[in-house]
């Protein structure tokens, strides 16, 4: 039952992948890149011109808003120090290797190469740390190897959960984050598992 479902999914995804490969893919990328490059100029133009037509003193209003920039950045400092120090110590202690040993039999079972496990564990903790691991893996195995593609997908599909939570809550002084970390990590886990799944289908 599950097997046939999986095969059906494989077929459709492969068809889509074939259909969108080549010209379609690069078109999509060009359009999206163009969007990214134009987004900020367009936003700035619309905001400033519309503000002017609404008879807003744009310069004074900008200064008024910008004043808060300093205090927001300062507010974040204690939160970011707390979380980055803990993560930095964790990385330096070598505890990561210990967790990898415990978890690797489990990840082998779901078809996730043991080499990519450090990416999965490091991604929610540190952006630069996980990017370093991804780069190392791609240097060793090649960017177009299965490991390289899976590691890239993992990196591209989740965020540095702990950093985001520290900065976002820190900026407004929230100390009790309630279920934010749990839901963020559940999301990360889903993202990583789905990365393994989709990479097996598309690149497998």
């Amino acid at each position: 039952m599950l097997n046939s479902l999986a095969y059906a999914a494989v077929d459709t995804v492969q068809q889509v992948a074939q259909a969108t490969a080549g010209a379609g893919d690069s078109m999509f990328v060009t359009v999206m890149k163009g969007f990214s490059n134009l987004a900020v100029p367009i936003i700035l133009f619309v905001v400033v011109v519309l503000g002017f037509f609404k008879k807003i003193k744009v310069y004074e209003t900008f200064i008024d808003g910008a004043k808060e920039g300093f205090s927001v950045a300062i507010n974040i400092i204690p939160y970011l120090v707390a979380i980055l120090v803990a993560i930095g110590m964790f990385r330096a202690s070598g505890a990561m290797g210990f967790f990898i040993k415990i978890l690797s039999p489990l990840t082998n079972m779901i078809g996730m190469p043991a080499e990519t496990l450090p990416v999965a564990l490091m991604r929610p903790l540190s952006g630069s740390g996980s990017l370093g691991i991804v780069t190392e893996l791609m240097t060793q195995h090649g960017p177009d190897s299965f490991i390289g593609r899976l590691a890239s997908t993992m990196f591209g599909s989740t965020e540095t959960t702990f950093y985001v939570i520290a900065v976002y809550f820190g900026s407004i002084g929230i100390r009790k984050s309630r279920h934010a970390i749990a839901s963020g990590l559940i999301g990360d886990m889903a993202g990583l598992l789905m990365a393994v799944f989709i990479c097996h289908i598309v690149f497998g």
């Binding site: 890149k33 905001v47 503000g51 803990a86 070598g94 240097t139 599909s157 939570i165 309630r178 749990a182």
Partner: protein, 211 residues
């Protein structure tokens, strides 16, 4: 957060002692503290810039227009926020910046949104349900151009550095849906319900309106 932080500290110190890495652990602590301050201070300029632009957008009514435009979605995701509250429009701008991979703009816009959400919070130091859902959207953020990793792939001589976009978008969409669902489900647990700073004092007041 308390337990996670404690666990990270204790594990690093204990493992560091066993593996003889204690020196490296303390060095990392000092180093990371400096990096944290650098990152925070580095935000000042870009923060001030986007907060200034957002103030004009707010007074010019753009944020209100955006808020109204996504009313059906925001009513489902953030039932407790009034539909034309500036928080909605600001969150939308943050999410669009994330989609486009505009990391520089996304953080200031996200922090501005948090500020708006805090105005609806009855507590000073406890997160509301809306904040947790917004963070769930952010921590698993969908990016259509994950530029950093594409750049690394290109540098290492990949035949098609962009080929991971479709798989990453697929995985991050699943991650986002899961994170938001988890946040929505967890806010119904007795413990989280009790800690909700905006919970109504007597009746629960919850019909099926948020299902």
């Amino acid at each position: 957060m308390n337990y996670i932080w404690l666990a990270l500290m204790v594990i690093s110190l204990v493992v560091g002692a066993f593996t003889g890495n204690l020196g490296a652990v303390t060095a990392a602590a000092v180093n990371s503290a400096e990096v944290a301050v650098e990152i925070s201070l580095g935000l000042i300029g870009i923060m001030a810039f986007w907060l200034g632009i957002m103030k004009i957008a707010e007074e010019g009514g753009i944020i209100k227009i955006l808020s109204r435009a996504i009313r059906p979605i925001s009513k489902f995701l953030f039932p407790e926020i009034p539909p034309d509250h500036p928080a909605i429009g600001t969150m939308l701008m943050n999410i669009i910046a994330n989609w486009l991979g505009l990391g520089n703009a996304a953080t200031p816009l996200g922090l501005k949104a948090m500020k708006e959400l805090q105005k609806l919070n009855k507590s000073e130091d406890t997160a509301t349900n809306a904040m947790v859902v917004f963070l769930a959207l952010n921590t698993a953020s969908i990016t259509f151009i994950p530029m950093t990793v594409i750049a690394v792939r290109a540098k290492l001589g990949s035949a098609n550095p962009f080929e991971i976009i479709s798989t990453a978008v697929f995985a991050s969409t699943c991650a986002t849906i899961t994170a938001v669902t988890a946040a929505k489900l967890m806010q119904r647990l007795p413990g989280t319900r009790k800690s909700d700073p905006n919970r109504l004092p007597k009746t629960t007041g919850k019909g099926g309106d948020d299902a």
